[in-house]
């Protein structure tokens, strides 16, 4: 009973900011107040019509689609090689592929900025996409790797012994069996890229910046609830994605061990 109350309290602590943001986003006045003094959608209108957010949303779309489209096949290939390639020193290669995960954002960001400057590509979109590919790659490799490890190789051998070419075996047997891992990889990659902030802050300008960077500039410069409306849209989208993922994949299977 006590444990239940404590857990409920802690979950409330985790949810409190979200609740406040949603409440403030429908507040009719520019002065932040809680509970809201009425109901208005003017900050949503403001958020959706603010030109810098529109431009940033288009940039976000390009950067996320571009980097995920590259990282998904690259990461899947790497996961197959890690499990099936009979590599010497497999842990070394795995550590190397997962390493971008542990590099502090400010270190990677400044590094990419200096690299871009020395290539004369300062604040080019290509650098932004390349950085995002490196940052989402560990999530793709990890998710797909788990699926490859659980894959029953006899099914592939059966297909091959029945005369399927290696490519056909891969397309008709391996790939469908990897679907849950690929789905999880896609989910992680999109979420990480859409929300990436620190590295992108270093390597973008007003023209190329993605949504989190544009939102950061807005928070620093203005105090009205436009960002609350923008955040609510982000939160809603995220909840929908997490809920759908839990319904169809079962997040418990990804994160918890079951006997």
């Amino acid at each position: 009973m006590m444990l239940k109350a404590i857990v409920a309290g802690l979950l409330a602590f985790m949810t409190l900011p979200t609740v406040v943001v949603i409440a403030v986003s429908v507040n009719p006045t520019a002065i932040l107040s809680f509970p809201p003094s009425g109901f208005s959608l003017r900050w949503y209108e403001n958020a959706l019509t603010y030109p810098q957010f529109q431009r940033a949303a288009v940039n976000s779309l390009w950067v996320t689609v571009g980097s995920v489209a590259l990282a998904l096949p690259i990461g899947t290939a790497a996961a197959l090689a890690l499990e099936r390639g009979r590599l010497r020193l497999p842990t070394l290669w795995a550590t190397l592929l997962l390493s971008p995960l542990v590099v502090p954002g400010v270190a990677a960001g400044l590094g990419f900025l200096i690299l871009a400057a020395s290539l004369g590509m300062i604040r080019s979109r290509a650098v932004l996409i390349a950085a995002h590919v490196a940052l989402v790659l560990p999530f793709v490799v990890r998710s797909v790797w788990v699926s490859v490890r659980n894959l029953d190789a006899t099914l592939e051998r059966a297909a091959a012994s029945l005369g399927a070419t290696p490519w056909r075996t891969f397309r008709r047997v391996t790939l469908p069996l990897l679907r849950p891992g690929l789905f999880a990889a896609l989910l992680f990659a999109v979420v990480v890229s859409v929300n990436e902030f620190v590295v992108s802050l270093f390597i973008s300008n007003r023209v190329t910046e993605i949504l989190p960077v544009a939102m950061y500039s807005y928070v620093v410069n203005y105090t009205d609830p436009t960002i609350a409306a923008m955040s609510t849209l982000f939160i809603t989208a995220t909840f929908a994605v997490v809920w759908v993922a839990d319904r169809f994949v079962g997040l418990g299977r990804v994160f918890l061990h079951h006997r």
Binding site: A78, F112, S118, L137, N195, F197, V219, F234
Partner: protein
């Protein structure tokens, strides 16, 4: 098969080159007002240890340690409930509430805390926004999902048979927890704590927005010097310090992992 690794290694090589640039700039002379750099120098690293920056490093370490300790205490009950509940609905609810902030991104989460810590929502008896206390609350909230997931993964590996055995031999629930459950979840506690500590050491958005310039951590120094004063060599030295601290800590995670296996 081995060739399939090549594209991924190309990406990692690019990443390594970017970090190499950092290393190169950290030993070049900064020329104020210019992105051009002078010759070799160790001045940037000497600067890192100047008294004013030593204070920043100390604040960073102190805030990270406090964040880790508070996050561990707050995350354990949630992780325990998540790993041990029999109801799949409760498990789903906890998981969604845990993962949603994990997926919402740093800016949205930090902005939410600006609202809560500012006096718009709750009138705080002591100032919270733009203080170390406020930054600490934001950092704990930020680290909770990671810690909960790492701890829950560890706790779900413990066979409940051990706990039942202890209970059947007459141990009271508190004793079962302290003598059986907690020691068996130690690997999760160690790796979760090290990861949270390492991430907090180089956290940027939380101190930048909740500290409002009054709370400096290593990452805010890197950003201020690199992007606002265009002192890339000076910023690079600090960024390398953050990188070095992270690597040392995560090597610790690796060792804790092997010992547990």
């Amino acid at each position: 098969m081995k060739l399939l690794l090549a594209p991924a290694l190309t990406v990692i090589a690019l990443f390594a080159v970017a970090l190499g640039c950092l290393l190169q700039y950290s030993v070049l002379t900064f020329i104020p007002g210019s992105l051009q750099t002078g010759g070799f120098t160790l001045e940037n690293f000497k600067n890192v240890l100047a008294p004013q920056y030593l204070g920043v490093i100390w604040d960073t370490v102190w805030l990270s340690a406090a964040t880790t300790a508070l996050t561990l205490m707050a995350a354990y009950p949630v992780a325990y409930a998540l790993a041990r509940t029999d109801s799949s609905r409760v498990r789903s609810a906890i998981l969604v509430l845990t993962l949603a902030p994990f997926f919402t991104g740093a800016i949205v989460r930090t902005y939410a805390w600006i609202l809560v810590l500012g006096n718009a929502v709750i009138t705080w008896p002591i100032p919270m926004l733009f203080t170390e206390r406020g930054v600490l609350v934001g950092l704990v909230h930020f680290s909770m999902p990671t810690m909960i997931l790492m701890l829950a993964a560890g706790i779900s590996h413990i066979d409940p048979v051990y706990e039942r055995a202890a209970a059947s031999l007459g141990a009271r629930p508190a004793r079962v927890f302290w003598r059986v459950t907690l020691p068996l979840s130690l690997p999760g506690i160690v790796s979760g704590s090290l990861i949270v500590f390492a991430w907090t050491l180089s956290a940027y958005p939380t101190p930048a927005l909740l500290g409002g310039g009054k709370v400096q951590m290593i990452a805010t120094v890197v950003k201020d010097r690199g992007l606002d004063s265009f002192n890339w060599p000076g910023a690079a030295a600090f960024a390398l310090l953050a990188l070095a601290m992270t690597i040392v800590l995560l090597a610790g995670v690796g060792r804790a992992g092997t010992r547990a296996a």
